[in-house]
């Protein structure tokens, strides 16, 4: 039976400094929610407030419709995996896993099967007698997750748990945590600054910036329909191209935009658009093509070519001197200095007003 998490106008202040500004958020039972955002955006603070490690200055935290603001961390039914793993270095893996249960007053006979089961789930049965210093980074991470599992919590919280692992192990652990979520079905909240982790693991992504939610939604919703320039730039890798542009003409079902020294005609009306308005034209590198389909953007002068095997990255300059990145499928032979005509599907491009909001 999974648990819902509801934040109502939640605030956090340190003296005169506001770090979380009235956040409203609902995480449905069994959902895998990912808080993502740049360093200092308040995502870890928000997670710690849900855990009870930080006091909630204003607003309400509800777990399954019960107010939790004043409830002690241990009474919230929450387990947390820390960035540093927070394993007790003087205890064996078994003791680390059993600590929470011992503290809760379970008998030894009750503790052992729970520990063994968690160890089996995470494939760390053979490590139970070792101390943390004798474990690799990935093994430590598994023990940290195991410590959360044995307590059979209502909610799992993960605070950047993979950031200390190398790239290969990160991918592996990402898959394992997703599998764990699928198998256990608990509500999980995961904090990361890595948008790839967010895109691959989340049912729901919460994009935070300066203590405010910028957008909440499913990964592909955020990717396809970012509500503002911040989300558009943060979600997706490589990053979206942002090009200075100007509205040339506005029609009922068409908008002409001057961009890269040329004029393109988008077959749709833009909200709040007016002639001569300064805007930002956004297009993801993977949505630009060297084939002549869609709308032609001005030719770009290729300055650098990166052949990654599965795709070819081109870094170039537009006729009006703006930097642009193009990601072409497969292995393309493009010489440096080439003037390459690129095209795009008009349904894939984005236009942002001066306030950064999508039009």
């Amino acid at each position: 039976m999974a648990t819902s998490v509801v934040l109502q106008k939640v605030e956090k202040r340190y003296g005169a400094l506001d770090v979380i500004h009235g956040i409203d958020l609902t995480i449905d039972p069994g959902e895998f929610a990912v808080f993502v955002g740049p360093s200092g955006c308040g995502k870890s603070t928000l997670l710690r407030m849900i855990a009870g490690l930080e006091e909630i200055t204003g607003g309400t935290l509800m777990l399954d419709n019960d107010r939790m603001n004043e409830v002690a961390p241990a009474k919230r039914g929450i387990a947390m995996v820390f960035q540093s793993y927070a394993l007790y270095p003087h205890m064996s893996v078994y003791k680390n896993l059993a600590f929470g249960l011992e503290t809760a007053g379970y008998r030894k006979a009750e503790i052992e099967p729970k520990v063994r089961r968690a160890a089996e789930i995470l494939q760390i049965e053979k490590l139970l007698d070792r101390k943390p210093k004798a474990l690799s980074g990935g093994q430590r991470q598994r023990v940290a997750i195991g410590r959360a599992i044995v307590r059979e919590p209502r909610i799992f919280l993960f605070d950047e748990p993979l950031s200390n692992l190398d790239a290969e192990l990160r991918v592996q652990m990402r898959v394992e945590i997703s599998r764990l979520h699928r198998d256990l079905g608990n509500t999980m909240i995961y904090v990361t600054h890595d948008q790839v982790e967010a895109m691959t693991m989340a049912d729901k992504i919460v994009v935070l910036n300066s203590g405010r939610i910028e957008q909440v939604g499913a990964p592909l919703d955020l990717y396809n329909h970012p509500v503002n320039r911040f989300v558009a730039g943060f979600i997706g890798s490589p990053k979206m191209n942002f090009l200075k542009a100007r509205i040339a003409a506005v029609g009922e079902a068409e908008t002409a935009i001057q961009v890269c020294g040329g004029t393109i005609r988008l077959p749709r009306a833009l909200k709040g658009a007016a002639p001569e308005q300064e805007v930002t034209f956004g297009i993801r590198p993977e949505h630009l093509s060297a084939h002549e389909d869609g709308i032609a953007l001005a030719p770009i002068n290729v300055e650098l070519v990166e052949n990654l095997g599965g795709e070819t990255m081109l870094y170039g300059i537009t006729p009006d001197g703006q930097h642009i990145t193009v990601a072409l499928e497969g292995q393309q032979k493009v010489e440096r200095g080439t003037n390459l005509a690129v095209h795009f599907d008009p349904s894939r491009c984005h236009v942002f007003g001066a306030d950064g909001k999508a039009m």
């Binding site: 961390p73 009474k75 929450i78 820390f82 007790y88 003087h90 503290t103």
Partner: protein
């Protein structure tokens, strides 16, 4: 003739080799000379004031030496007498062990408690740290020992305070049952040095361990004995070894408070005080040297024992 020729060859060879050797020394001097010059004060101190006297005292411990006549070799007679026919040695050992066993645990416990209090993020921490450290700087001095004597004398400040509550205190210093305690209290009062080290150790324990424990529902007390204490064991071990060695070597407080006698009834006769009496009271330098080397041996054995047992109770992270 052949010999002359051989000799000439040898001389000739030597004449060629000398400049090479000189060149090598010159090269070493040019390369490392400045370093050795910087090292020289320490080398003089080490050989002249530490190693030299230590070796001399080891030799003297096998002699009879009264500072006036030349040392007379007596073999192991001093050691045999210490082991078999010196009741004062046994008394001094007893007092010293009692002092070590009482003062070190009390001092470390008190230092740890104060460090825990200071670790709770109190304002003006650096000021408190300095204030608490001050007794450690002053505690070994003659002046503080004299002050202590005044405090714990029969008509001293402690008894005056007790008299306010209608309690008639004993003469702490001149009563054989209490005199050792005045020295233990003086030792505990000098908790600053281990306290600073405990504080540094506490600061090294990651806060997320406590956070993880609090999510597990561990009370503050359980966090202390399940997390803080085990993770602090390297620091506890260090402090225990250093403080125990210091306690074995304690001299000034007992000398001043007992007026150099170790009384009453040998109740403050620290080992070092007895050693001093033998050396500079009875002018038995050879015997005192043997006592000194026995103390070295005791401290070395204790330290070795501490290190051997540390693997069972000291938790090192890496």
């Amino acid at each position: 003739m052949a010999a002359v020729q051989d000799s000439a060859v040898v001389v000739g060879g030597g004449a060629q080799a000398r400049p090479v050797a000189q060149g090598r020394w010159a090269s070493i001097w040019a390369k490392h000379g400045a370093g050795y010059m910087f090292l020289l004060p320490w080398l003089i101190g080490f050989f002249g004031l530490t190693l030299g006297p230590a070796v001399a005292s080891l030799y003297l411990s096998f002699t009879s030496f009264d500072l006036i006549r030349a040392p007379e070799w007596v073999g192991t007679a001093n050691y045999v007498r210490i082991a078999t026919a010196d009741p004062k040695f046994a008394a001094a050992m007893q007092v010293t062990f009692l002092y070590v066993v009482l003062s070190v645990p009390f001092k470390l416990t008190f230092a740890l408690l104060v460090a825990i209090l200071l670790d709770r993020g109190v304002r003006g921490l650096t000021v408190y740290r300095a204030i608490f450290y001050l007794p450690s700087l002053l505690g070994g001095s003659v002046a503080i020992a004299v002050l202590w004597r005044q405090l714990f004398a029969g008509d001293g400040l402690i008894n005056s305070l007790l008299a306010q509550f209608g309690i008639e205190g004993p003469s702490w210093i001149s009563h054989p049952n209490y005199s050792i305690w005045t020295l233990v209290v003086l030792s505990v009062w000098q908790f600053g040095s281990p306290m600073i080290i405990f504080l540094a150790g506490l600061r090294q324990i990651p806060t997320d361990m406590y956070e993880a424990a609090s999510l597990d529902g561990a009370s503050k007390f359980r966090q202390f004995y399940k997390i803080t204490l085990p993770l602090l064991t390297p620091v506890i071990f260090f402090n225990a070894v250093v403080q125990t060695i210091d306690a074995f070597k304690a001299f000034t407080p007992a000398f001043i408070i007992s007026g150099g006698t170790g009384g009453p009834i040998n109740s403050t006769l620290f080992y070092t005080l007895y050693l001093y009496q033998e050396a500079f009271g009875n002018f038995r330098m050879g015997y005192a040297s043997a006592l000194a080397w026995i103390l070295v041996l005791i401290i070395a054995l204790f330290t070795a024992f501490s290190f051997l047992t540390s693997r069972y109770w000291v938790h090192y992270d890496d």
